[in-house]
C-alpha cells in the first residue's frame, strides 16, 4: 500500500491534525495497560469525531485490506488494544459526549470515548449512577468497558457492564452503520448487543452506547473486617454468600497488601491483621441494617480480630482509598508485578488461595492478593524483577499455573480483564475445539474479513496455523504450558 496516499485520504476524512503517522508519535500506541507483551505499533492512528467519520475510515481500511484496531483510553489489561498486525488504529477519545440523559426512563446515550466516571458525575446530583466501576473508571472509556465487558467491585450486586448496556450503534468492518438493541428491553431478534459486549473489538466499532442508569441506594454501610489470615477471611466470604447475603462489594486484601498500604496511606489496619475484608452494603436502610447484623454474627463466630464500621463518608472514602490504592502500593514493595485475573466458585476460595501461595513458593515469588472475593474473582499480583535473568518468563509461567488452577476447580481464565492477546493461548484449556469453533462462527457473522482487531480473543484454528505467516509461538507455548489450536 502507498502509506502516504492513505494518510492523505484519512486526513481528508478527519482533518490533518487528527491523523498520527510519525514513527515517534506512534510509540504512544504500542501497548495498553498490559505491558509485558511484545509491543506493536499501528501504521496510522486516526482520531475521528463522528460516527460518519469512523465509517468512512473503516471503508478505506476495507478497500485497502487493512486491520482496524479500536482503542479507548488504553487501560486494558490483556493487550486488547495491541495493533498486532499494524493497520489503522481508531482512537475514540474525541467521541466523548453525553448525547442524552433520560432519567424517567433510566437511560443515557453516550459516545464510546466518554470516561466511565464522567457519566456518574453527570447524574449523581439527580440521584442516579452508572453501575460498572472498574478500578480504571477515572480513566477508562465506556466504549472500552463495552469491549471488555468490564467489571469492578460493585458488580457483585449490580452485575458486569453487559447488564447495563441496552443498545449500540456499530460500524461494521464494511463501514456500514447498524443500530442494535435500543432504549427498550427485549428488542426482537438475536441479542446482538449482548454478543457485542465483551467482543474486544473483533466485531467492529461501537460509536454510540445506550446505557442503564441505576437509582442510588437509600443507605450505604462500609465495614472492614480483620482476620488472622487469608484462609479465615476467605471462609467468611463463602459463609456470607452461603447465608444469602449479597453485599454490593466484598473485597479481600492479604497481608502483603495491608503492609504496603499501611506504610503508604496509614489506613489504620488492625495490627495483627493477616487479611482484611472490605464489605459494602447498600439498599434500603432497614435491609442493610439486618445484613450488617448477619455479617457481624458470621465474622464473630469465625474469628474476626476487629470489625470496623465506617462512621461517615470520610472514613468510607479512606477505606476505599486503601482498596483502590492496593495495586499501586504493591509497586512500593516490588520492582514490578504481573497482575493476573481468574475466577473460581466462591466455595473454592480457601483451597485456591492456599494453592496460589504454594505456587508462589515453588516459583520463589511473593504473590500478593487483592480481589473481588464476593464473586470469586482473583487478582494475584506476582511480584518479580525483570532485570533479573529469566524472571519475567518465570512470572508468566507462575501466572499460567494459576490459570490452570482456576480451571481445575471449574472456574474461568478471566473475570474482567479479557482475553486480548495475553490469554489467547489459554482459551483451548477452557473450551473444546468445538466450543471455540462456535465462537469463530459468531465472529465470522460479524466480521468475515477478520480485520477487526485481528489476532485477539480467539486462537487461530488448527487448520489456519500453517497458513498464518505471522505465527510465532507464544512464550508459554514454547515452554509447553499451553497448546495452540
Amino acid at each position: 500500500m502507498d502509506k502516504s496516499k492513505i494518510v492523505d485520504e484519512l486526513a481528508a476524512i478527519v482533518g490533518r491534525e487528527w491523523v498520527i503517522s510519525d514513527a515517534d508519535e506512534l510509540i504512544v500506541y504500542e501497548c495498553d495497560g498490559m505491558t509485558y507483551l511484545d509491543k506493536a505499533v499501528p501504521d496510522v492512528v486516526v482520531l475521528p469525531d463522528t460516527t460518519e467519520q469512523v465509517a468512512a475510515v473503516v471503508k478505506v481500511c476495507d478497500r485497502e485490506g487493512l486491520a482496524v484496531v479500536p482503542r479507548g483510553a488504553g487501560t486494558g489489561l490483556s493487550g486488547g488494544a495491541l495493533p498486532l498486525k499494524g493497520g489503522v488504529m481508531i482512537g475514540l477519545n474525541r467521541m466523548n459526549r453525553i448525547l442524552e440523559i433520560d432519567l424517567p426512563n433510566q437511560r443515557a446515550v453516550v459516545e464510546p470515548g466518554l470516561v466511565n466516571i464522567a457519566l456518574t458525575q453527570a447524574v449523581r446530583d439527580h440521584g442516579y449512577f452508572f453501575a460498572p466501576d472498574p478500578a480504571s473508571q477515572t480513566a477508562s472509556s465506556i466504549g472500552g468497558n463495552v469491549a471488555e465487558n468490564a467489571g469492578g467491585p460493585h458488580c457483585l450486586k449490580y452485575g458486569a457492564t453487559t447488564m447495563h448496556i441496552l443498545g449500540l450503534e456499530l460500524v461494521l468492518s464494511s463501514g456500514e452503520i447498524v443500530q442494535v438493541g435500543g432504549k427498550t428491553l427485549d428488542v426482537p431478534g438475536y441479542d446482538l448487543t449482548g454478543l457485542f459486549v465483551g467482543s474486544e473489538g473483533t466485531f467492529g466499532i461501537c460509536t454510540k452506547v445506550i446505557v442503564r442508569l441505576v437509582r442510588q441506594p437509600e443507605a450505604v454501610q462500609t465495614l472492614l473486617a480483620s482476620f488472622r489470615g487469608i484462609e479465615e477471611a476467605s471462609e467468611v466470604v463463602s459463609t456470607i454468600i452461603a447465608a444469602g447475603i449479597i453485599p454490593s462489594a466484598l473485597e479481600l486484601m492479604d497481608r502483603h497488601i495491608i503492609r504496603a498500604l499501611e506504610e503508604w496511606l496509614h489506613i489504620g489496619y488492625h495490627e495483627g491483621a493477616g487479611a482484611v475484608l472490605l464489605i459494602e452494603l447498600d439498599g434500603p436502610a432497614a435491609e442493610i441494617a439486618a445484613q450488617a447484623r448477619g455479617i457481624e454474627g458470621i465474622c464473630r463466630t469465625q474469628g474476626v480480630l476487629d470489625l470496623r464500621n465506617a462512621k461517615d463518608d470520610q472514613e468510607r472514602a479512606l477505606l476505599w482509598k486503601g482498596r483502590k490504592g492496593a495495586a499501586a502500593a504493591v509497586g512500593r514493595i516490588t520492582h514490578e508485578y504481573y497482575l493476573q485475573d481468574g475466577v473460581v466458585p466462591r466455595t473454592k476460595l480457601p483451597y485456591v488461595l492456599r494453592e496460589i501461595e504454594a505456587i508462589g513458593r515453588r516459583y520463589d515469588f511473593l504473590i500478593a492478593n487483592v480481589f473481588h472475593a464476593g464473586d470469586g474473582n482473583l487478582h494475584p499480583l506476582i511480584c518479580f524483577d525483570s532485570r533479573r535473568e529469566g524472571e519475567l518468563q518465570r512470572a508468566i509461567a507462575a501466572g499460567a499455573e494459576i490459570m490452570k488452577l482456576c480451571l481445575s476447580v471449574g472456574g474461568s481464565i478471566t473475570g474482567e480483564h479479557g482475553i486480548g492477546m495475553e490469554k489467547i493461548d489459554f482459551m483451548p484449556l477452557m473450551y473444546s475445539p468445538d466450543d471455540l469453533d462456535a465462537m469463530r462462527k459468531v465472529r465470522n457473522a460479524f466480521d468475515r474479513t477478520q480485520r477487526c482487531n485481528p489476532g485477539k480473543l480467539l486462537p487461530t484454528s488448527k487448520s489456519c496455523v500453517e497458513t498464518s505467516v505471522a505465527y510465532r509461538p507464544h512464550r508459554i507455548e514454547r515452554e509447553g504450558l499451553a497448546q495452540r489450536y
Binding site: G151, P188, Y190, A286, Y431
Partner: protein, 453 residues
C-alpha cells in the same frame, strides 16, 4: 426417507418407546402442522445423533419443551421432526453456597423452584404460564415476568449453557462462575433465539436466596394516570420493589376474580411487591402506600403467603382469550418506562375500534406491556384481516416511540396475515449471517424467527 424408515432410524438411536410416529404426533402440531415423528432423547449423545440424522436428511426440527410457548413465532415452513426434551429434566449440579445451579433444558421451572426452595433459594424467573414452562423453553423464548424488575431476565441470570447444534455438535458456552469474560458471551446468543440456532440441553444460572418476607400491595386507582405517576415516583425513590405490575381495568377485574379479591369496577390496579427482611418490607410498603395515596389510590389489599401466590398465579396464567371459547391474540409491547400507559391506552382504542376487548398486564417498571386481545363475550370473532390491520396500527404507533411489538400467540390464520415479529431494521443481515453460520441448511425451526429466519 419414508415415515416408517425415519421412525425406525430414530428408534435405533433412542429406543422404540421414545419415538412417536405420524398420527400419534398430532398433539405436537405447531400452528396446525404436525411432525412426521417425535423423538425423546435422554442424553446429549442421543440428541447429537438425532440432529446428525436430521441434518443429513434435511429434516426440519422443532425443539419442544412443554409447549407452553409453541404458538410464539412465525408459522414454521416445515415441521418434520419434533425433538422433545421431556427426559432432560434433572438438576445436574447445585452448589447452594455458590448460589449457582446447572439444570437440564427440559426441566420444569416449577420443579426446579421446589428443589431450590428446600434450600431457601430460587431462580428468579417467573414467565407467563410458569407452572408448566421448561428451562430451555424459557431461555429460547426469553420469557420473563414481574420480578424481572429486581432480578433481571434470562440474559442477566444465565452464566453458562450447553447446546446441540444443527449438525449434532455439542458445545458449551460461559462457565459455572458468576463472573467470566473468556471469549464471546455465547449464552447471550441462544437466549430468545427460539430454537433456531441450537437445542439448549443444559443451563447454568446464578440464583438468589428467597427473601425472608415478601408482601404485595395491590392498590386500585380510578384512572391510569394516577397509577402511572405513582410508578414514576416509586422508580425515582430509593425503594427497591421486586415487581410493579400495572393492570388495566378489565385485566384488574379478571385477575382479582381469579385471586379472590374484589376491586372497584373501572379501576386500574397497581401491584407492588417487596421482598426483604420484615422491617425493610414494611418500611418500603409504607412508602409505596403513601406514594399511591398521593396519586389518588382508592385503597388496596396487602397480600402475602397463599393469597400473594394466588395473585401471582392469576397473572402468570392470565389467558382471557382462551376462556369461554373466545379467540384472540396475545401481544407484547416493549416501550420506554414512561410510555407504558400510552401503550395501554393505544391498545385499548385500536382494539375497541374493531370490536375487540384489550386486557393489559404491564411490567410497569420495565416497560413491558402484555396485551390480550379478545372478541367480546357472546359476539362473533373479528375477521383476521381486520385484526391484522389493528395489530399493525398499534405496532406503528409503538415503533414510532422507539418501542417494539411482537405477537406472542395467535391463531395460525392471523399469524399468516401479520408479521409476528415486526421490523428488525439493518441488523437483520447480521442475524441472517448468524443463522447461516450455525444452521446453513435451515433445519432448526425454519421460518419461525425474525425476518423469516
Amino acid at each position: 426417507m419414508t415415515p416408517d424408515l425415519l421412525a425406525a432410524r430414530l428408534a435405533g438411536i433412542v429406543g422404540q418407546e421414545h419415538v412417536l410416529a405420524q398420527e400419534r404426533c398430532a398433539q405436537y402440531a405447531v400452528d396446525g402442522k404436525a411432525p412426521t415423528a417425535a423423538v425423546f432423547p435422554a442424553t446429549v449423545e442421543e440428541i447429537s445423533k438425532v440432529m446428525r440424522l436430521a441434518s443429513s436428511e434435511r429434516l426440519s426440527v422443532v425443539p419442544w419443551g412443554s409447549g407452553t410457548k409453541i404458538s410464539f413465532g412465525g408459522i414454521p415452513e416445515r415441521v418434520d421432526l419434533l425433538v422433545g426434551l421431556a427426559r432432560f429434566n434433572r438438576v445436574i449440579e447445585h452448589e447452594p453456597a455458590d448460589l449457582t445451579v446447572t439444570i437440564q433444558g427440559g426441566a420444569l421451572l416449577r420443579e426446579v423452584q421446589a428443589y431450590l426452595g428446600q434450600r431457601g433459594q430460587f431462580l428468579p424467573l417467573d414467565p407467563p404460564l410458569a407452572a408448566r414452562a421448561t428451562i430451555g423453553g424459557i431461555l429460547a423464548t426469553n420469557a420473563s415476568g414481574p420480578r424481572r424488575l429486581l432480578y433481571g431476565a434470562a440474559r442477566d441470570l444465565l452464566i453458562g449453557l450447553r447446546v446441540v447444534h444443527a449438525d449434532g455438535t455439542a458445545t458449551r458456552g460461559g462457565a459455572k462462575v458468576v463472573k467470566n469474560v473468556s471469549g464471546y458471551d455465547m449464552p447471550k446468543l441462544y437466549i430468545g433465539s427460539l430454537g433456531t440456532l441450537g437445542i439448549i440441553v443444559e443451563a447454568t444460572f446464578r440464583i438468589y436466596p428467597l427473601p425472608a418476607v415478601e408482601r404485595t400491595w395491590v392498590a386500585s386507582f380510578p384512572d391510569g394516570e394516577g397509577a402511572s405517576s405513582a410508578v414514576a415516583e416509586m422508580l425515582a425513590a430509593p425503594i427497591v420493589p421486586s415487581s410493579l405490575e400495572l393492570l388495566s381495568s378489565p385485566a384488574a377485574q379478571s385477575v382479582a376474580r381469579l385471586a379472590g379479591l374484589s376491586l372497584p369496577q373501572g379501576h386500574v390496579a397497581l401491584a407492588s411487591s417487596v421482598g426483604s427482611v420484615a422491617e425493610a418490607v414494611d418500611a418500603q410498603l409504607g412508602q409505596i402506600k403513601r406514594i399511591s395515596e398521593r396519586n389518588g389510590a382508592g385503597g388496596g389489599f396487602l397480600l402475602e403467603g397463599d393469597a400473594q401466590e394466588r395473585f401471582r398465579t392469576a397473572i402468570s396464567e392470565f389467558m382471557p382469550g382462551e376462556r369461554n371459547g373466545r379467540v384472540g391474540a396475545v401481544l407484547k409491547a416493549s416501550v420506554v418506562i414512561s410510555k407504558v400507559l400510552e401503550a395501554v391506552r393505544r391498545g385499548e382504542e385500536i382494539a375497541r375500534a374493531v370490536g375487540l376487548q384489550s386486557f393489559a398486564i404491564c411490567e410497569a417498571g420495565s416497560g413491558i406491556v402484555r396485551l390480550h386481545w379478545t372478541n367480546n363475550a357472546g359476539e362473533p370473532g373479528v375477521a383476521v384481516e381486520v385484526m391484522a390491520k389493528a395489530i399493525e396500527a398499534l405496532r406503528d404507533s409503538i415503533v414510532r416511540e422507539g418501542g417494539n411489538l411482537v405477537v406472542m400467540s395467535a391463531p395460525p390464520a392471523l399469524k399468516a396475515a401479520v408479521d409476528v415479529w415486526g421490523p428488525v431494521g439493518k441488523a437483520l443481515p447480521l442475524m441472517q449471517e448468524l443463522k447461516q453460520q450455525f444452521d446453513p441448511h435451515r433445519i432448526l425451526n425454519p421460518g419461525r424467527f425474525v425476518g423469516g429466519i
